[in-house]
């Protein structure tokens, strides 16, 4: 372990802001990207089912 | 039909079309001059500052003027149906397109290259850099026209395709811009600039060889239906 204490780990030898900013934005954008795609999958499925229902009623 | 005859035939047609509505092809020259003066007004009349940025400013505005000129290259042909006849011709499509793009490149590059020395004067460009500036414009702008033709062919179906053309094509313009401005800046400092012009010439040859293929593929797209 490079850091002896939890505070040292967060402070990252003074560069904590930049390291956590980079990693934070990276994790956030990956998670956001995944969420967007999952929501897109759900809306596509909903539209398709709706289309099938309309077709079956006609 | 032998190629030289085909070239002469295409040249004569493009020459007539350009000459008969010369005012629309001169718009790119007015644009070039006006935006240069805008830059001078924006940056201020300090001669020393202007001289330093003159090559960059002149070339970037020439690039934008070329892009605006290239935007409507195929649109009129598409709307009045003559683009279909181009694609259905029995002449080899590669040379037909190549000669067309070559003549358009000459008709767009010449006016801008002729005006550039006066703009160099306007922006206090060192005297020895004027000739390399004109040479770099004569070598660089045809490359921009050839690359822009690909974008124009892709966006021929859209009325306001100009903005989309910029988004598609500007990244591809960057190498030409880099080599051309480097040539003019080297000349302004009095150092050798022939290497930069040689690189520009290679880009021109590469574009001449490959662009017609891409333009043909892109044009045939618009007749997908």
């Amino acid at each position: 372990m490079q850091f002896d204490s939890w505070q040292a780990f967060v402070a990252m030898g003074g560069h904590g802001l930049y390291v956590w900013l980079a990693y934070g934005v990276a994790v956030l954008s990956l998670v956001a990207g995944a969420m967007v795609q999952i929501r897109r999958r759900k809306s596509v499925l909903r539209n398709i089912r709706q289309h099938y229902n309309n077709e079956s009623e006609v | 039909m032998p190629l030289h005859l085909l070239f002469f035939c295409v040249w004569r047609r493009e020459w007539r079309l350009t000459w008969r509505n010369i005012s629309s092809s001169l718009n790119s020259v007015w644009f070039f001059i006006m935006v240069c003066t805008l830059f001078v007004i924006g940056i201020g009349p300090d001669r020393q500052a202007l001289a330093e940025i003159a090559p960059g400013v002149i070339w970037v505005i020439a690039l934008l003027a070329t892009m605006l000129a290239v935007d409507g290259l195929f649109r009129h042909d598409f709307t009045d149906g003559s683009l279909a006849q181009w694609l259905l011709s029995s002449q080899p499509w590669y040379f037909l397109l190549l000669f067309r793009l070559l003549t358009q490149a000459v008709f767009i590059a010449l006016p801008l290259a002729l005006v550039a020395p006066f703009l160099g004067l306007l922006m206090d460009l060192p005297g020895m850099a004027v000739l390399p500036l004109v040479a770099s414009l004569l070598l660089g702008i045809p490359v921009l026209v050839l690359l822009g033709a690909i974008g124009a062919a892709l966006t021929v179906g859209f009325e306001r395709g100009g903005l989309l053309l910029a988004v598609l094509i500007l990244p591809l313009y960057i190498p030409v811009l880099i080599f051309a401005i480097a040539a003019v800046q080297a000349a302004a400092l009095g150092t050798a600039y022939s290497a930069h012009l040689a690189l520009l010439a290679t880009l021109l040859l590469l574009a001449l060889a490959l662009c017609p293929l891409a333009v043909n593929a892109a044009l045939r797209l618009n007749f997908y239906y």
Binding site: Y23, S29, R40 | L154, I174, L203
Partner: protein, 244 residues
């Protein structure tokens, strides 16, 4: 061989295959990523000059590498869809463009954040970062062109042509930007070319890169599946799958 190749192209076959391996790949990818990040953040030694801010290297370089590889994946998919008129390749290309653009943005952002402690400015016009910015513009160009068309087949072919033209231009752009950078900047340190890298720093980088590659494949497959459902909703196999 030919039949196999066209079988590969059928969306239904692709959907079944990707359904099988998606869960495994996601788990493997996340595992690699977490192990790599923990290793890089906690156990790898700090850089003697840059200190701990060097740890952003483990994020910036993998995303940059995969962003560039992603462009070639997109161009190859475009070429396949143009030459063999394969609908699946057309969908893969469009999804690869979106993922690639996200990765390029990520690479640029981490690069900028990394530049602040090391050079004191948020944006440094280094050759590598500048060509990464142009790569982002190329991605944006393909996405803009894709959204401009109404018919999916037509936009597929147009994007294929543009991505192929982009691929021919990427080496030229990279070389000319390097040349431009060395022209204006006397040879200062290269941004990411770490000639000799300490093995302790190298292994977490490899693990993270593998993690990113696997997750790129997972994202591409998942998005392609969604696009297949969207486009093929009239076929019977989609109907059965959706109404299960």
């Amino acid at each position: 061989m030919w039949a196999w190749f066209h079988k590969l192209g059928s969306p239904r076959w692709f959907y079944r295959i990707s359904d099988l391996c998606l869960p495994w790949l996601t788990v493997a990818g996340l595992l690699f990523l977490v192990v790599g990040v923990v290793w890089g953040l906690l156990f790898a030694p700090p850089d003697y000059k840059q200190g701990n801010s060097f740890r952003i290297f483990y994020l910036h370089v993998p995303t940059a590498v995969i962003a560039l590889v992603g462009y070639y994946v997109m161009a190859i998919a475009g070429a396949v869809s143009l030459i063999w008129k394969m609908k699946l390749a057309d969908i893969v290309m469009k999804e690869a463009a979106v993922i690639g653009a996200l990765l390029t943005f990520l690479a640029l952002f981490t690069g900028a954040v990394w530049g602040k402690p090391t050079w004191g400015t948020w944006w440094v016009w280094d050759a590598r970062v500048t060509s990464m910015l142009i790569l982002l513009f190329l991605y944006i160009g393909v996405i803009a062109l894709n959204n401009a068309f109404t018919h999916p087949e037509q936009s597929g072919k147009a994007c294929a042509v543009l991505s192929l033209v982009g691929t021919v231009n990427i080496p030229i752009i990279y070389k000319s930007v390097d040349w431009w950078y060395s022209l204006h900047q006397p040879a200062t340190i290269k941004f990411t070319e770490r000639s000799t890298i300490h093995p302790d720093m190298f292994w977490p980088f490899v693990v993270i890169t593998v993690g990113f590659y696997v997750l790129y494949a997972v994202a591409l497959m998942f998005n392609t599946q969604t696009a297949i459902l969207e486009r093929e909703y009239r076929t019977q196999w989609v109907r059965d799958k959706v109404q299960q």
